[in-house]
Symmetry: C2
Subunit: 93 residues, 2 copies
């Protein structure tokens, strides 16, 4: 999706929370019109928190364009199929 | 929203995971056309997992109608304002 729109992507992981908030804010401040915040598994809650903090404290005029949830499957240990949930939250100026 | 649509609501919390999966499946099996899965804070990841397991393993023809994220504020200990993120995932037959 980001390829189509020319927007930036921020992947949420285990770094300190404010790193991601700053990362999203900086993308907008350096010209991005859209940012897609992505996460998998337990980091999904964190992705929602990042977007909400950005919207509530830093850039109150952002528009929540789209929230998409999905599943990814991959081969885990012993060749077992493992499913993990994903989220993609697109916000725009 | 559920008042408008006559759909059922399932709140995700700390009960065993499959309780919620079964809960959603049973709502559809007993006639609901729409189910709204809601969660707050750390249970957001779990809400996404519940919906994805229902869609992938039990009811593959469900439509993901809408995913909405938001914030709720309430007074925490010592009168401090606390913000918590929320999610509402609407799925339909």
């Amino acid at each position: 999706m980001n390829q189509e729109t020319g927007g930036a992507v921020v992947f949420i992981g285990k770094k300190p929370f404010m790193n991601y908030v700053t990362g999203v804010v900086m993308q907008f401040n350096s010209g991005a019109k859209k940012v897609c915040v992505k996460a998998r598994g337990k980091y999904i809650s964190r992705a929602v928190d990042v977007v909400e903090v950005v919207r509530n404290r830093f850039l109150p005029n952002l528009k929540l364009e789209k929230v998409d949830i999905n599943s990814e499957e991959f081969e885990g240990q012993e060749g077992k199929k493992v499913r993990v949930s994903t989220i993609e939250i697109t916000i725009s100026k």
